[in-house]
Amino acid sequence: MGPTGKFVETLADARLQSAIYTATGRLIEGRKKTVAPGVLPDYQELRTQANAIKRHTMENLDHYLLELETNVQRHGGKVVWCNDGGDVADFILRLAKERRAHLVVKSKSMTSEEIDLNERLAKHELEAVETDLGEYILQLAHQKPYHIVAPALHLTRYDVSDVFSERLEIPPETEIDKQTGIARNVLREKFLAADIGISGANFLVAGSGAIVLVTNEGNGRLTTTMPKIHLAVAGIEKVIPREQDLAVFLKLLGRSATGQPLTVYTTMVSGPRRQAEIDGPDEFYLLLLDAGRTKLLADAEKRQSLYCIRCGACLNHCPVYRKIGGHNYPWVYSGPIGQIITPQYHGVTKDPWLPFASSLCGACAEVCPVKIEIPKILLQLRTEVNRAKQQESGTRLERLGFQLWAWVMKHPRLFELGGVIGSTVLSNGDGKEYIRRLPGWMNFGPLKGWISQRDLPAPAAKSFRQLWRERRENNGA
């Protein structure tokens, strides 16, 4: 099956193209300024450390999960192990029923997007309100995040005005700070009324039982402070060994994501409020999610895909993402990281084109704060896709084609003859620099598709071999 996205529409939409290009460009500039050698001299050393810590944690993951569980419990929290999104939703729905909870506020969590948590809760009439500004707009517009870090990157203030006036039944408002004020007021009411707060987690610290949230707006703090119950949903790969490791990861995450040495709020939470504390939730639950992660863990070479700290730098720097945007990828994780994890979660045959939608330029690996070798994994996935394809009969023609090609390549005379024939057929004799269409009898199937998007340089008057022979003759060799 080929790609199903609306690529042509995205490429033809000049406004959208400019929005993607500008937003990712700003994020690129921000990162560059904060990781420059003059500003952060040990940046490369930090990346190496981050990679080593993640590798160590994954290789000893059962140990750290148990240590995490012990420490969460020690601080009065509960750990809920979930095989999949169904387990997560079941637990939340059961708890909400027991506690007579009706309203949930959520801070931004890609993990909850991944398991369609809001939809699952809505099915049972439990309202979950997104409180990150971008996520809130998307929830009102019934859309999926466009980018891991900047979810509403594709929308303009005019789109937001339309969404707000339609869904909140208010007069149109196109000024961005006023729009933000509207969201603040609407969501503040939700925070004050909510029974349950659901957050994700950027890190889980085994040694202290703390979850760490890295945010800018303050909705993460409100979600974990105002409601009487706090639930954190996190994948098992989010664990790191000790508090001190945060000194490595926090220095990398904000810089790689938005070019901030630290984001506005870095919140660490371990368990419900303690005895003498005045505020904070009475109950704390950590929902640890597998949902395919152990499948990735089992592949020693591609296991590093689980090191990802979701900074989005690989998206910003990817020439493919910057053209096709976030909604043309098949899952909530877009860009290079989405291209390597989606096939591993869903199987390589579901979207076999995905690992091929890359120029392998390597920018993603260059900027990855935890040094995931994305291009290498893309190549491995391509091999897996091809191996899977070979088992299907449809590729016999392709194999025959390549056998023929190999045979010609091994016979220089035949190769030259092919070149002569090819250039005769293609040269239209009008002396133009580029060929924009093929002769009618060749203009079909993949060749037609290929030439419809590209111009082929016209064949040179003389081939390299011809020139070489003439040169040797002229030199009297």
């Binding site: 929005a19 040990d42 050393e45 810590i53 160590h56 994954m58 290789e59 000893n60 993951l61 059962d62 140990h63 999960l65 192990w81 095989n83 409180t131 990150d132 500004l133 971008g134 900047a150 979810p151 929308l155 203030r157 961005i176 729009q179 933000t180 969501l187 004050l192 202290s208 703390a210 800018n216 707006e217 303050g218 703090r221 402070t225 105002m226 098992i236 508090e243 001190q244 000194a247 926090l250 220095k251 040495p261 630290l262 984001t263 709020y265 870095t266 919140t267 660490m268 939470v269 371990s270 409020r273 303690r274 003498a276 504390e277 005045i278 505020d279 904070g280 597998d290 152990t294 863990l297």
Partner: protein
Amino acid sequence: MQRDDILQRVRTAIGRSAGQPAAEVPQARLRIPEMTSDERIELLLDNVRKLAGKTARVKSKQQAAEYAASLLAGRQAVASNAPFLAECGVTQLAGVVTGIENREQLREVTERADVGITAADYALADTGSLVMLSSHAEARMISLLPMVHLAILPAERILTGLDELYTLVPDAMERTSSMVLITGPSRTADIEQILVRGVHGPGEIHVVVVE
């Protein structure tokens, strides 16, 4: 049941057996630069200003209270139970409610207050951050709900950065259920990447260092 299934799958995936000790942990290297007290104060305040925060460096607690009084100018404020604020005389200022012990009352007062006044357990000079540990002295809501946050702290609580914090306080989570690093006013750039301050938390932050 899920617990054992997941742990079993993890162990199978990485080839470990139950109870097997973990390999040695790679050490995160923490480096603390040498900085004088004066350099720490200046770097902290400079970074807070770069984040659009307002700052003051004062010589006495009295002056800190004066700063607070002029910022309040008749507005309603809630102050945390931090002893340092009482020592400064900030809690006695007109319009300041303090000494709240109860969550519901705190919620009502902070929701209406224009300004939240706190101390800070630490500050990080190289990022311009306040470090707040939730406790009886420092409730979470005061630095979160009002539109303006004023933090007043003694100069000796300023650390160079994250590395010093984690060297000095490697076990903060033993002391509190919540530690937050606050780096500038609440902000978003979710619409057209245009920066807007005060989206959910305070849109205005003031940091006063008392020498």
